[in-house]
């Protein structure tokens, strides 16, 4: 046998050896999820960036991405989303701080690995088929299959083992020093607007405005032009007798202008008259996937125009762990009796810095 063939072969076997063995008896972090799909769906909302920062703490994971320093996305994934979640912090000198472990890695690679057993978009040979692989439609993975994570501190890779129906795939992802992303602060004591609405409605509005008329979208509150509906549930505390304002999103360019005006079905919990700020539309679109996945959305803006879009993503009860049901939707898990699991909820928070408005 030629010697380099032997070396190659050994190299292959070494990879298997390395991946199969636990690196140390007690890893810093190990977690198992029987719902790789839910995890994938939440993390995919941040995939407008390829690299992410992951923080491990006792409560769960915080995953953060940043886009050109004027936009950030953060996912809060609680430990309850996993069937087992064990964090053994390394001993540190700062005993007073709650222990965390933070590193950076390629989010895109992590997401592909989580989907390893899901076929890629089926090729359509007839009509140019609609792909669902766009920002606005969450991919629906086949359920079933487990994902096991192991991490052993800075310098060690993140190991991920996926198993489905007897097939096993092991992944070793390179980790990097975290980039220390400075969070974009939202001044809670100086809120100019707070609105709650169905995420689907915000999703629909952003879809509507994605019409290439302009690069920026303006968020605007103006005094209501119509009298408020007598049964309108919420009145802003600051002006109990005034009718609720109109809440609008608008875009405008040389071909024309487009406006989405929300009606009285949304909840305006707080507003300042004349509130008006603009944002780069392509950054707002980064949150599009979350809009499509979430049930509820909250829109908050402070006096400086920092905008926070928060989304609540409800879990689906886990689904049936061992059976491969291809395309199962959330409600089926409930119908099959979800073994008493409560709905796991994840949160996504997107922050945006306002842009100067051109007159």
């Amino acid at each position: 046998m030629p010697s380099n063939a032997t070396r190659e072969r050994n190299a292959t076997e070494n990879i298997s050896t390395v991946i199969q063995d636990e690196p140390e008896p007690q890893p810093v972090f190990t977690a198992t999820s029987s719902n790789a799909r839910q995890l994938y769906n939440v993390l995919k909302c941040l995939n407008f960036q390829s690299k992410a920062q992951i923080e491990i703490n006792h409560d769960g994971l915080i995953v953060t991405v940043e886009d050109s320093r004027v936009m950030q996305g953060t996912a809060f994934i609680e430990s309850a989303l996993f069937t087992s979640f064990v964090y053994n912090p390394r001993p540190t000198s700062e005993a007073s701080d709650p222990p965390t472990e933070t590193f950076a890695l390629s989010l895109s690679i992590l997401l592909e690995c989580l989907q390893i057993f899901t076929p890629a978009e089926p090729r359509q040979f007839s009509n140019g088929g609609q792909t669902s692989n766009n920002v606005f439609s969450p991919a629906i993975l086949r359920s079933g299959g487990t994902a096991k994570f192991t991490y052993n501190g800075p310098g060690s890779p993140l190991f991920l083992t996926l198993a489905e129906g007897g097939d096993v795939t092991t992944c070793e992802l390179t980790t990097y020093e975290p980039e220390m992303i400075l969070p974009i602060p939202l001044r809670m004591e100086e809120l100019g607007v707070k609105v709650i609405m169905k995420a689907a409605w915000l999703h629909d509005a952003i879809r509507e405005l994605d019409n290439n008329l302009t690069d920026t979208v303006t968020l605007l509150l103006r005094p209501s032009s119509v009298p408020s509906h007598p049964s309108h549930p919420s009145h802003p505390p600051s002006a109990p007798s005034a009718p609720a304002p109109d809440f609008l999103l608008l875009t405008s360019g040389p071909l024309g202008s487009a406006t989405v005006e929300f009606g009285k079905q949304i909840q305006i919990l707080h507003y300042t008259e004349g509130y008006r700020f603009s944002y780069a539309f392509h950054l707002i679109k980064n949150a599009g996937r979350a809009m499509g996945l979430a049930t509820k959305a909250s829109v908050r803006g402070d006096s400086q125009g920092v905008l926070s879009l928060q989304f609540m993503i409800e879990g689906d009860g886990g689904g049936d762990r061992d059976r491969d049901r291809g395309g199962v939707r959330g409600t089926m898990g409930e119908e099959q009796g979800n073994m008493g699991k409560k709905m796991e909820t994840s949160f996504l928070d997107f922050r945006f810095v306002a842009v100067e408005e051109e007159e």
């Binding site: 629909d204 008329l213 406006t259």
Partner: protein, 477 residues
């Protein structure tokens, strides 16, 4: 400066129809013209070479919920032009059923806004969940060019259900350029054939697109009145666009034409919407002598719009209008009527700005030969007779498909070249009663520009086009 007022409202289904109309029109041009008159709205597009025009006529009392148009000047119309892209971003595909019903639209309002220097078409979409979406689009004033088609001279006419037409069109590869429609009425057959005029040879023969021939029994047509041997060619791409929208509407498609070089008009209607296409036709130059010029010269379909009708034609419209008023059928139904029987008054509509199209143009057998399937069809043979187009393509040897092996070494088909002169049409070789004897000319091999096309992407070859194209590409596609 005239200050017309225009305001109308549409139901969700009509709004969807506008979307489909705009998709179709945008296949012809990047700009779409809008014309408003009393009782009618017209959306139209003209391609850049002026060889194809598409117009969607909306009878407002059927198509719209409300419609108000008034003009303070003597011109009783408002004309403007907008970007197809801008219109399609407003009238995009909106899922009427499957998605979240709360975000669906309940009504669409359109209004002309002329406030000072800014002229806009304002579109308001009212949604079920209380959201109001407002678009204001810029437009330019324009004089719209209309297609001219004289029905009096249309000697050929057929009507075919749109789902059947779609079924046939699906067999064609979009990479072929032209579609020839020909009649072998004496045998009860009609054919649709795709071809590309510029032929390649030698090593590049394998780069030619797929060419397709669909031969039908005339019984599939609702009506087929085309002389034996009449054959015209149109752009395959244009015809596919025409057929696509017809299939969505699920209606009867009517085509009228005469000879190659003169326009063909294809029209269909549904629920207050009438689509009229005027396409230039050409000869199939592979198989006939070209009249002059290297390729098929297509004339233009368009005449410059005149305010006053042309003198020489003025009398005819008046006379015809009288005849039409007597028959009194509403315009949109004439294309859907099944097998008109008896005599109908002749009608020809010269599509000019002034004459109104409120009265019907009924069908009339113009030519002597008019094939009525239900009357003259012979009993169906147990097995289909050998179709005309597979008649011997090689005239030597008794076995029709045999090729001489000895030719294989060098010029494979050397012997065939001499035979070629006796071939007439590529597919329809059997009938000799060809009115157009000119087609029995020497088949000159066309050595035009090499239109090498890559065949590696198969998805172009299909008939059903994604409905989102070609509106501005966002992340929603």
């Amino acid at each position: 400066m005239s200050n017309p007022t225009l305001h109308f409202t549409l139901s969700p289904s009509s709004t969807q129809r506008i979307h489909e109309s705009l998709i179709t029109l945008s296949k012809f041009s990047e700009s779409i013209s809008l014309e408003a008159r009393r009782g009618i709205l017209i959306l139209s597009a003209l391609n850049s070479t002026k060889t194809a025009s598409a117009a969607i006529h909306l009878t407002t009392n059927r198509f719209c919920i409300t419609y108000n148009f008034s003009s303070s000047t003597d011109t009783d119309r408002f004309q403007c032009r907008l970007s197809a892209r801008a219109l399609l971003s407003v009238f995009r595909q909106r899922f009427l059923d499957s998605r979240d019903k709360s975000t669906a639209i309940s009504k669409c309002e359109v209004q002309l806004e002329q406030q000072g220097p800014e002229n806009r078409i304002a579109v308001r979409l009212l949604c079920n969940h209380g959201v109001v979406k407002t678009y204001k689009l810029t437009y330019e004033d324009v004089e719209i060019l209309h297609a001219v088609f004289n029905r009096d001279t249309a000697t050929a006419r057929w009507r075919l259900g749109s789902s059947l037409l779609k079924e046939y069109m699906e067999h064609f590869s979009a990479k072929a350029e032209k579609l020839a429609i020909s009649s072998a009425a004496s045998e009860g057959r009609a054919t649709f054939t795709s071809f590309t005029e510029k032929l390649v040879d030698g090593k590049d023969t394998l780069k030619q697109p797929l060419h397709t021939n669909v031969s039908l029994d005339i019984g599939n047509f609702e009506e087929f009145s085309v002389d034996d041997g009449v054959r015209v060619g149109v752009s395959l791409k244009d015809f596919t666009a025409v057929a696509w929208f017809a299939a969505i509407l699920e209606t009867m498609v009517e085509a009228r034409y005469s000879v190659p070089g003169r326009a063909m008009q294809v029209a269909y209607a549904k629920d207050g919407l009438e689509a009229v296409y005027t396409l230039m036709t050409a000869q199939d130059n592979r198989i006939s002598q070209s009249f002059g010029g290297p390729g098929s010269q297509m004339g233009r379909v368009v005449a410059v719009q005149r305010r006053e009708p042309v003198e020489t034609r003025e009398e005819t419209p008046r006379r015809e209008m009288i005849e039409r008023q007597e028959s009194g059928r509403p315009p949109t139904e004439r294309l859907e009527s099944v097998k008109p029987s008896g005599s109908e008054s002749t009608a020809g509509t010269i599509h000019q700005p002034t004459p109104r199209r409120e009265t019907p143009a009924s069908l009339a057998p113009q030519q002597n030969f008019s094939y009525r399937p239900t009357q003259q069809l012979p009993p169906m043979p147990p097995t289909p007779p050998p179709p005309p187009q597979t008649a011997p393509l090689f005239l030597y040897g008794e076995d029709e498909d045999e090729m001489d092996d000895s030719d294989r070494e060098h010029n494979l088909f050397g012997e065939m070249d001499q035979e070629r002169g006796s071939f007439t049409l590529g597919w329809d070789t059997t009938y000799a009663g060809n009115a157009e004897k000119g087609e029995k000319a020497v088949n000159k091999k066309k050595r035009g520009r090499n239109t090498v096309e890559d065949e590696d992407d198969d998805s172009d070859g299909d008939f059903v086009m994604p409905t989102q194209q070609p509106r501005p590409k966002g992340l929603f596609d």
